[in-house]
């Protein structure tokens, strides 16, 4: 899971799936079958953390870094290319959280998906991008983010329109959730080496 100096960020993700952990196994509402908002609050939609399924396995979702560990902020920080990383230590830096569950998202469903929104009564469009954003503890970390028509990350902008937009994007994510483990394969080494 850890990044290596020889690795490079992956730019072509469209054939793969993302997996995200949930706090509990009953993350879907029983009446509607939709994702409970408490599992993914709209505030998290600005930059939704996920993992690239393949070399990253479902059991890897159990890894939880301890907030009280000395290097917590280092381990969750983004990896800088061409660098090696520290090796985290079991129990000191992380533990296994076995009661987590998970869901899947097909990258090609999300990447490029357009959501219309209003800002000061003008109409705009937000574009979804799935980005490979490795951290110092997880090379397979990915982010689902939303960009405006000028390619500017909307999470970096300010304004009340963000409430509306990220509510919309939560609906989008909810629509594309897959519960069943999809057919998947190891990530081709050519993509990151």
């Amino acid at each position: 899971m850890l990044p290596k100096r020889s690795f490079k960020k992956i730019t072509s993700l469209s054939n793969y799936y993302l997996v995200r952990h949930t706090k509990t196994s009953d993350y879907l509402d029983t009446e509607t079958g939709h994702l409970k908002s408490e599992e993914v609050p709209s505030g998290h939609m600005q930059d939704l953390s996920t993992n690239l399924l393949g070399t990253f396995k479902i059991k890897d979702l159990q890894i939880e870094f301890k907030k009280e560990c000395e290097d917590f902020s280092y381990f969750i920080d983004y990896w800088v290319e061409n660098t090696d990383v520290k090796m985290p230590v079991f129990e000191k830096d992380f533990s296994y959280k076995t009661d987590r569950s998970y869901f899947f998202l097909k990258i090609s469903d999300l990447d490029g998906h357009v959501v219309p929104y209003k800002k000061s009564n003008d109409n705009f469009q937000a574009f979804c991008k799935v980005l490979h954003t490795p951290t110092n503890s997880n090379f397979w970390h990915c982010s689902v983010r939303w960009f405006d028509e000028n390619g500017i990350d909307i999470s970096k902008q300010s304004g009340q329109f963000k409430n509306r937009l990220f509510s919309q994007t939560r609906s989008t994510i909810s629509e594309f959730i897959k519960q069943d483990i999809p057919e998947h394969k190891e990530i081709s080494k050519e993509l990151y080496m």
């Binding site: 009446e31 509607t32 408490e38 609050p41 709209s42 509306r164 919309q168 989008t172 629509e175």
Partner: protein, 191 residues
């Protein structure tokens, strides 16, 4: 058969009462007062009785349809009340009457879409999210109560059909609900 499902007695007065008060399901929140006037139906236990056996079938079907809407609205109202008793702290500082007004207006519009299931959530970011699963589409309505300059609550409505967003509208509460009513519900639930 339909006749077997009808209560035994139903006099004109009660029928008129029923029809007038069920209009909560038809309110497009033109004004807060209008909703307040009508929302008594959601609190009441209306004792429907039919006294005449010669009611035309058309009226019977109309009655049954309205009953269905009525019962769903009451059920959702109860669901919200139960949730609010647990999570009212997430909406701390927001006037309850405003919350109730918005919730009832949203419920009245949702039931017109004849949902199979509805989830209601109160979230930590001072919002109430309604998700309804209907035959041909999924409906999401989000109310945000933190924006003081809006009339009641900033509102976002999204509808997905076959995973495609076929309706999306956001803004102040009244405009958003009215647009939803006029451009989706009244046009046969077509975007």
């Amino acid at each position: 058969m339909i006749a077997a499902d009808i209560p035994q007695t139903f006099d004109n007065l009660e029928r008129d009462y029923f029809r007038n008060t069920i209009s909560i399901a038809k309110v497009s929140c033109a004004s807060k007062e209008e909703v307040w006037k009508d929302n008594s139906i959601l609190n009441s236990k209306y004792p429907v009785q039919i006294k005449n056996n010669d009611i035309f079938e058309e009226e019977i079907i109309h009655y049954l349809n309205e009953s269905k809407i009525h019962n769903k609205a009451i059920s959702l109202r109860k669901k919200f009340d139960s949730l609010y008793s647990l999570k009212s702290n997430f909406l701390k500082g927001i006037d309850y009457e405003t919350i109730e007004f918005c919730v009832l207006a949203v419920i009245s519009n949702i039931v017109e879409c004849d949902p199979h299931g509805v989830s209601i959530e109160i979230t930590e970011d001072k919002s109430i999210l309604f998700t309804a699963k209907c035959t041909d589409f999924n409906l999401y309505i989000d109310l945000f109560f933190e924006n003081e300059i809006d009339d009641y609550a900033e509102t976002v409505i999204n509808i997905y059909k076959d995973k495609k967003n076929i309706y999306s509208f956001g803004g102040n509460f009244s405009d958003t609900i009215k647009d939803f009513k006029q451009n989706f519900i009244q046009k046969g639930q077509q975007a």
